[in-house]
Symmetry: C2
Subunit: 223 residues, 2 copies
Amino acid sequence: MEVIVAQPLLKANEELARQNRNLLNRRGITTVNLISAPGAGKTTLLENTIGALKNMFSIGVVEGDIYTTFDSERLAGQGVAVVQINTYGGCHLDAQMVAQALERLPLDKLKLLFIENVGNLVCPAEFDLGENYKVAILSVSEGSDKPKKYPLVFQESEAVVLNKIDLLPYTDFDLAAAKEQLKEIKNNLVMFPLSAKTGEGMEAWVEWLKDKVSQTEKLSVTG
Amino acid sequence: MEVIVAQPLLKANEELARQNRNLLNRRGITTVNLISAPGAGKTTLLENTIGALKNMFSIGVVEGDIYTTFDSERLAGQGVAVVQINTYGGCHLDAQMVAQALERLPLDKLKLLFIENVGNLVCPAEFDLGENYKVAILSVSEGSDKPKKYPLVFQESEAVVLNKIDLLPYTDFDLAAAKEQLKEIKNNLVMFPLSAKTGEGMEAWVEWLKDKVSQTEKLSVTG
């Protein structure tokens, strides 16, 4: 049943994602799609990442939630352009929703765009939104067996943030085992163990993002 | 798009769920569908709940995972009947999967059946499996804003387990605020703050389950 239903939806999504990607690439915007389970700390990560980068270049956020505007309210205080999408029950963002959000963002000014997906480690991994990079966030309180149980999101991702390392002493999370599992799933996965709350380990993640933005800039110049 | 697609699937599921429920009710089995985000602690909760109840009556488990048999292996050590369902990418269990699992369980012996759903706080809430009760598990490391962000699963549930209270001192989780949010969503929701890891607070949850099993037994006698 599921395959018959999902194919035309995914095909239509692919075409819209391609259009989003063309639009964003033409503008020289680096786009990062953040995916995680509920409560892994996407919004706290965004708050602190934006804090570290917003004086360097202009940042936008597409904020996806089923209901509520809690997260976009938190980010609005950061002085960046934020558009909230509410899916009203929908378990993931799709390329059409993102296309509508892009119309409301000052694309001529932005260098970096974050898309915070709906909190769900399963469905968002199947939907291309037109981003350059998917980044999975896994918090250590979720347990180190999660990569093998939810492999698609990690296969699709360019990098993984291992968040809430401040909780490591109080959980059974095995950081080495999780890294091993992630390597088995995707050999060249970049990993950032950090605590968005305390700031520990944030530098490497912020440097990676700066590097991705300058790569896009070089492409725009030569392209 | 989503509405057009979802209706026939949900209708077919409803009929199969009704058949499962009839079968389970005829056998006098109390069935509990456990739903949570990945890593909220469903399997640890099950391990310790089964440990507390298995000498009183016979327990079965339908274990749902996208991939891997990690969880059913953990539970097999408990000496209860376990059937693993792998959805191979599917984001929730449906009534048809559960019907197939029921064929492999010793239903004439069971008094209590747990269904551990796929780790996902969104999609499983939409699918009736034929259970008597849905129970949502929310771990304190996920943050106290989750009830309002993911209301459906809590509306559909009879009870909520607030797990990992051993982590309360190390998180920003506001237990009183979360309880308030949950009451607003559903006034008569039963809540069990506990730590499946340390055992703190487990008694009230175990008593609630024993009570539900004896209610089913009374219904069987009078029915």
